[in-house]
């Protein structure tokens, strides 16, 4: 008797259902969010941080202009806009993206969508009077300038800065709010993302200062160092607290002993936090080395920030639905 074989074809990708591989009572890794999310988390975080820090440190006007608008503002607008486009492109139904604004009463993603929109609108309005096309300034008559010297300009700047803070932090809150994935369910996650964004944004600022022959001040290095110390403390603290919780234990094991040990300990912790911190301290002591160290800082912090977010997503593990004593695990 011949046995009919079932024709098969290769799988395009792994189905996005956490219970699909095998229906077993094992911790299961989320696979619905990955590299695209880590990319837009990073871009939006750094973009928001750059806008806030450049204005808080009053550096925006010193670091070059394009079309009359501060280059720092351009970078933050583009980073957040590109992040938003990646987010939209990753949706199952991208042309319905406007619906992300609907559930403001409950969803953090909706808050974030509004923060993105408000930031881009208020930020664009703020710099609009300085827009120069050729020798013309078509919006010059608007009663404010991008340096926010008037009351209306100051109001726009504050609105844009608050929205930028929202843009920086909401992705982390999206992960931290539900209880489904214990490693994510912690205020540490949004704070880690916030501090990583802030440190990277500071590195971008330092490089821009170097590129524009503006002296890097010690106070800026102290701020960068403070962000990095706080980030390191949060990462270590998060790994040490509630470390035996089902789900979080597996996440922690994967980061410290499993497949992500090298990128996490080597990339995020050492090259992405400890080494930049040491370099910042060196830059504080050696004034002549600040420009070169600023470039190295950015080269280290940007990929490390991305890696922090990607690894956080990759170790998002659902604990077993039910704890069964004596369960047989082959």
């Amino acid at each position: 008797m011949s046995v009919e074989t079932v024709p098969t074809r290769p799988v395009g990708h792994v189905p996005e259902n956490v219970f699909m591989d095998r229906w077993v009572l094992e911790p299961k890794t989320q696979r619905v969010w990955g590299a695209p999310h880590a990319t837009w988390f990073t871009l939006m975080g750094v973009g928001g941080g750059l806008f806030i820090l450049a204005r808080a440190l009053d550096r925006d006007a010193d670091l070059g202009h394009w079309l009359g608008i501060p280059l720092v503002d351009w970078i933050s607008f583009v980073a957040i806009a590109v992040g938003g486009l990646i987010l939209i492109g990753d949706l199952g139904r991208p042309w319905r993206a406007w619906r992300a604004f609907v559930n403001v009463r409950r969803s953090v993603i909706s808050w974030g969508a509004w923060a993105d929109l408000i930031f881009l609108t208020a930020g664009a309005l703020l710099v609009l009077p300085d827009l120069r096309i050729g020798s013309a300034r078509p919006f010059e008559s608007l009663p404010w300038d991008s340096n926010a010297t008037s009351a209306s300009g100051r109001t726009l700047e504050i609105v844009a800065m608050i929205a930028a803070l929202g843009v920086m932090i909401y992705a982390g809150i999206v992960l931290a709010r539900p209880r489904a994935i214990p490693y994510w369910h912690s205020p540490s996650i949004p704070l880690q993302f916030l501090l990583s964004s802030a440190a990277t944004a500071m590195a971008v600022l330092l490089v821009m200062e170097f590129a524009n022959d503006v002296a890097i001040e010690a106070s800026e290095l102290w701020i960068t160092a403070a962000f990095l110390v706080a980030l390191l403390a949060l990462v270590v603290g998060h790994l040490l607290t509630r470390s035996d919780t089902p789900g979080k234990k597996e996440s922690r094991d994967r980061l410290l002993r499993g497949q992500y040990r090298l990128p996490f300990l080597g990339g995020v912790v050492i090259l992405g936090t400890v080494v930049p911190l040491a370099l910042t301290v060196v830059a504080l002591a050696v004034t002549d080395a600040r420009d070169a160290l600023a470039v190295v800082l950015l080269v280290l912090l940007l990929p490390a920030g991305f890696a922090l977010r990607l690894l956080t997503l990759r170790v998002g593990i659902f604990p077993p639905l039910k704890e069964v004593p004596g369960i047989f695990r082959p």
Binding site: P15, F19, G92, F101, I109, V174, A180, K322
Partner: protein
């Protein structure tokens, strides 16, 4: 009125009829099983035994999927049933990471059934129906067969008792391990079962979702 289901795992024989009945009733997309059964071994020889854990959407009182969804595609009816509206879903998958039970399923447009980790069958008959009934890039889920409940109520039937008004998985279960009914009605089959069998447990109690699907046995 709050619809709920209690599953007596001690009665489950692991026949997977509920999984198939659900698939047939709801024509769910390839790879999306709204009512699978987890099989696991516990104990050591000679006292080892197979156990079965049927799972489905828990239709939570405080549903994290609803809170996570930015588009408002996930809603909770007054009777407690949590529904996903594929016409509104934007495919953010936030619900999938927020649900502790893995009850949400993204329709990726894949056809055929998973044969191994690296191969699928050719498209099945149900794939065609799934493409007619579901939208690629959106999320779908168990509805407690709300269409049957609504039909039954319109025709004077009692969900949990009359098969035409009761979820397909409950109707088909040969071991009667699924009991469905109104949690607010002390005379409903589910309330009486829980009273008789003692308190029911929920899965992932740490998630504090107020699940309407619970377990005894």
């Amino acid at each position: 009125m709050r619809w709920g289901m209690v599953i007596d795992v001690g009665r489950c024989v692991g026949c997977h009829a509920c999984t198939i009945a659900c698939k047939s009733e709801n024509e769910s997309p390839a790879d999306a099983f709204y009512a699978p059964v987890i099989e696991y071994e516990a104990g050591t020889y000679p006292n080892a035994q197979m156990n079965y854990l049927p799972i489905l959407c828990n239709h939570c009182e405080d549903a994290p999927c609803i809170t996570a969804c930015p588009s408002g595609a996930l809603t909770r009816r007054d009777d407690g049933i949590v529904l996903a509206d594929e016409d509104v879903c934007i495919g953010s998958r936030a619900c999938m990471t927020a649900c502790p039970y893995g009850a949400l399923h993204l329709f990726t447009g894949e056809e055929g059934e998973m044969r191994t980790e690296h191969a699928r069958t050719e498209p099945t008959v149900s794939d065609r129906r799934a493409h007619e009934r579901h939208q690629v890039g959106t999320v779908s889920k168990c509805t407690y067969c709300s269409h049957k409940i609504d039909f039954g109520l319109e025709h004077g039937l009692t969900p949990g008792i009359d098969p035409l008004a009761t979820p397909a998985c409950v109707v088909t279960c040969p071991a009667e391990c699924r009991i469905f009914g109104d949690l607010d009605d002390a005379t409903s089959p589910i309330s009486q079962y829980i009273e008789r069998r003692g308190p029911a447990e929920v899965l992932r109690p740490d998630a504090k979702t107020g699940a309407h699907t619970s377990y005894v046995g």
